[in-house]
């Protein structure tokens, strides 16, 4: 056999080898059967929130995509310059100049406008900060008491760092309440959300602002408002007042605080 013939033969074998390597996928079995389940799917639901203060514009949790369903720029509930000690624990009917009210509407919906959530959720609220400061314009008498005190979540006289230590003697901090209402805020529910009272509407109690702040100030220390159905709306009136037994050292003080409304599956 000539060398030329041998070369041809070897080249042929190489070609066969190459073809075998490319066709191996289809030769792992001669007989086979196969079935496929296409189109299996799992779809997630959604939890969205809309916040409105005093019937004003809506603040949507999903307004800014980059913030991933968190909106920290909603309307300030109130900005009351002057509060006076109340004479009765029964909240006066608004409009009222001696106490501060804010009507807040929470809806389980978001953007696009009126896009309801599809999942039920637990609604919760907490106060991430309560900062006390002297109000230099309040008058000559500056009491020096902390209106956010006392908080009791961190031990006597100890609150989150933003507040600083409270005086060891009680100075009575501001009164604070959360009352649930019907749509239109015309009828209060028969119970008080905070301070919790399952049988009676809210009344103003001393030190409740500090109590709320001290206990519910982050997403691991939140105050549960219970469930909110997908698409449902709940109405809350927040009240702040100076205690009946307010002392002079509470004069000229300012409390600045925020609310975080949070929904979780």
């Amino acid at each position: 056999m000539s060398s030329k013939t041998i070369k041809k033969l070897l080249l042929s074998l190489i070609v066969v080898g190459v073809l075998a390597s490319f066709t191996a996928r289809g030769t792992f079995a001669v007989l086979n059967a196969s079935t496929d389940h296409p189109g299996s799917s799992i779809a997630s639901g959604s939890i969205l929130m809309t916040n409105s203060v005093g019937g004003g514009s809506n603040c949507y949790s999903d307004l800014v995509a980059a913030n991933k369903n968190v909106n920290t720029s909603c309307t300030t509930p109130f900005s009351t310059g002057l509060l006076y000690p109340i004479l009765s624990s029964t909240p006066p009917t608004p409009p009222e100049t001696t106490v501060a009210y804010a009507d807040i509407t929470i809806t389980s919906a978001g953007l696009p406008v009126s896009t309801n959530s599809t999942l039920p959720a637990t609604l919760m609220v907490y106060m991430p900060n309560c900062d006390a400061s002297n109000n230099a314009t309040a008058g000559a008498y500056l009491g020096g008491a902390n209106p956010c005190c006392p908080g009791d979540a961190f031990g006597a006289g100890v609150l989150p760092g933003s507040v600083g230590n409270c005086p060891t003697t009680s100075s009575h901090s501001l009164d604070f309440s959360i009352q649930e209402y019907n749509a239109g805020f015309t009828t209060a529910s028969s119970s008080c959300v905070f301070p919790p009272d399952p049988s009676n509407p809210c009344t103003f109690l001393d030190d409740t602002l500090g109590s709320f702040f001290g206990n519910y100030h982050d997403n691991t220390h939140y105050f549960s408002l219970g469930s909110i159905a997908a698409g449902a709306t709940r109405y809350f009136r927040i009240g702040v007042a100076e205690p009946i037994a307010a002392q002079n050292n509470l004069q000229g003080e300012t409390a600045t605080f925020s609310f975080y409304w949070h929904m979780e599956q």
Binding site: D36, H37, S41, L119
Partner: protein, 556 residues
């Protein structure tokens, strides 16, 4: 003399194929006696002396042809074309031989100046029929006769037996695939005409799901309805794929592949295609690979490809697979779509596919094995499959240690897991006393602890969940659908060897005998928050939908 030796070689070859031919020389000897009747006026011929070699070669060629014809006549040649060629050659030879004999016997005058030998032969003024030529003609004739009539004259005495009607019947490997109580899906009726059915029932269509909450499961029964045992049975994630919706005709130039949008399997393209990907189209025994000339999004019904001539006809219904898919989270068979654009719920890299844990647990014959999912390969055969069950009753409304009859578990409970009883705001936890498997209707728990509310008021509407299982699922980052596609695709398919006990599989043996069935529970759940996917990150999973497939396959 030299010529005669050559001719004898030809005769010998013929004789070997047609042994009954004999005594050719007798015919040769008769040849000189044949009268030469060439007309006197014929032009003298001088070519014989100068073309003897050519004549010899021509005659030799005739001999070879006749020999081939004879050999073919023995039946040794099976190629149809060769047989036909031999037959034609034989006809030509026969015609030539007859013509030659006729011419030879007709005779011709010798030209002047012929060689002495020729002169002797033409002394009578006519050409004598050359013995050599006569012999050759005879040999040719013998060959022709052998071709047409030799078969029946092989021997005087013969014996023969025949074994007729021998048959060879092939067996079959067929799959019958049943999801829950849906109609049976058979591999043999697959539109791709190759025992592949890409249009079986979807495993589930869970909607409005939330992380860490029980979704549900489907049961899949796989039966080998064929006649052959399947030595291997596989589970794998399909490539990004679709079903050809428009026939491709052999020889036509193909620049795009049209896919069915519904009703034939995947709704359009299941997955995505990237430009340059290799797209395999298969129908029956034919397949051809095209190269995508542009990307195609999930759900697309057209894949543009570089122009290529179809090597076969691919009917509508052919399978279309992207062989370069399943290599990253962005190229998996599982794909996410946005149900509502919330602004923050992007589908880039299919986040819900990556956030949803898939599990496949076998339950055949009461033996469990976790083939895929959190807990895969566990000693007790359990996947971490969540439960959401209800007690038939709670004695006194108080959850306490003891046995409870419950609605059939749709998941598993591992011994020691924390079971939480929830009734409105009341929550009580108790440890599981043993392993409990899918379908169990009775569980026993140990001493219980109040978590919130009060340990009172519990009844049959209470919900029992396995918080330990949910925690394990929430921590699993390797068994989501995206990982399934990337690590358990065709190249890394999971062989489903027989399971002989809970958590025990045999390495050898037939995976699925003829008419045998195997049963699996398949579930998926959006994993709860964990270190890898904290709660705030999961916000991005809202209003998304993951769509995917799953393949069951058997081999001989």
């Amino acid at each position: 003399m030299k010529n005669l030796q050559t001719y004898r070689l030809g005769a010998s070859l013929i004789a070997s194929a047609a042994p009954r031919q004999s005594r050719p020389t007798a015919r040769v000897e008769e040849t000189p006696a044949l009268p030469a009747e060439a007309p006197a006026s014929e032009t003298p011929r001088t070519r014989r002396a100068t073309t003897g070699g050519k004549t010899l070669l021509a005659l030799l060629a005739l001999g070879v042809i006749a020999t081939l014809a004879a050999v073919e006549a023995t039946g040794a040649v099976h190629n149809g074309y060769i047989r036909l060629a031999s037959f034609g050659a034989a006809i030509l030879v026969a015609a030539g031989a007859l013509a030659a004999v006729a011419v030879a016997f007709t005779g011709r005058r010798r030209p002047a100046g012929a060689t002495p030998a020729v002169t002797a032969a033409t002394s009578s003024g006519r050409k004598s029929f050359s013995p050599t030529k006569a012999i050759l003609m005879l040999m040719m004739l013998v060959g022709v006769v052998a071709y047409f009539g030799g078969a029946g004259t092989f021997a005087g005495f013969t014996a023969q037996t025949t074994n007729p009607n021998s048959t060879l019947g092939s067996g079959s490997l067929l799959i019958q695939n049943t999801v829950n109580a849906n109609p049976v899906c058979e591999s043999k009726v697959g539109e791709s005409n190759n025992n592949v059915n890409a249009n079986c029932t979807a495993l589930f269509g869970f909607t409005n799901q939330e992380p860490g909450v029980f979704s549900g499961v489907s049961t899949v029964t796989i039966k080998n309805s064929g006649t052959l045992p399947a030595s291997t049975m596989y589970l794998w994630a399909p490539y990004a794929n679709g079903v050809l919706g428009s026939t491709i005709t052999s020889g036509n130039s193909v620049t795009s592949l049209t896919l069915y949008g519904s009703g034939h399997g995947p709704a359009g393209l299941e997955g995505t295609v990237t430009s340059g990907d290799h797209i395999l189209v298969t129908y029956g025994g034919n397949s051809q690979t095209f190269v995508a000339s542009a990307g195609a999004v999930a759900g697309a019904t057209t894949i543009n490809v570089n122009s290529l001539t179809a090597t076969a006809t691919f009917q509508a219904g052919a399978t279309v697979e992207d062989l370069d898919s399943n290599t990253s989270a962005a190229s998996t068979n599982c794909y996410d779509t946005q149900l509502v654009n919330l602004g923050f719920n992007s589908t880039t890299n299919n986040p819900l596919c990556s956030g949803s844990v898939l599990f496949v647990q076998e339950t055949t014959g009461g033996f469990n094995y976790c083939w895929w999912g959190s807990g895969a390969g566990s000693a007790n055969g359990q996947c971490d499959a969540p439960i959401s069950s209800n007690p038939a009753s709670v004695s006194g409304g108080v959850v306490a240690a003891g046995a409870y009859t419950v609605s059939a578990l749709q998941g598993n409970i591992k011994s020691g897991d924390t079971l939480q009883f929830t009734e409105s705001a009341n929550k009580v936890t108790c440890p599981a006393s043993s392993d409990y498997y899918y379908g169990a209707t009775s569980i026993t728990v140990g001493a219980c602890t109040l978590v919130s509310g009060a340990n009172s008021g519990f009844n049959s509407s209470a919900v029992i969940t396995d918080t330990s299982s949910l925690t394990r699922i929430g921590s699993d980052t390797t068994h989501n659908i995206s990982k399934f596609d990337q690590t358990a695709g065709y190249a890394n398919k999971i062989e489903l060897t027989p399971v002989t006990a809970n958590g025990t599989k045999t390495p050898n043996g037939t995976d699925l005998a003829s008419n045998a069935t195997r049963t699996f529970v398949v579930g998926v759940i959006i994993a709860g928050s964990n270190a890898a996917a904290p709660a705030n990150a999961q916000n991005q999973l809202q209003q998304l939908k993951s769509t995917f497939g799953l393949v069951w396959h058997i081999d001989q």
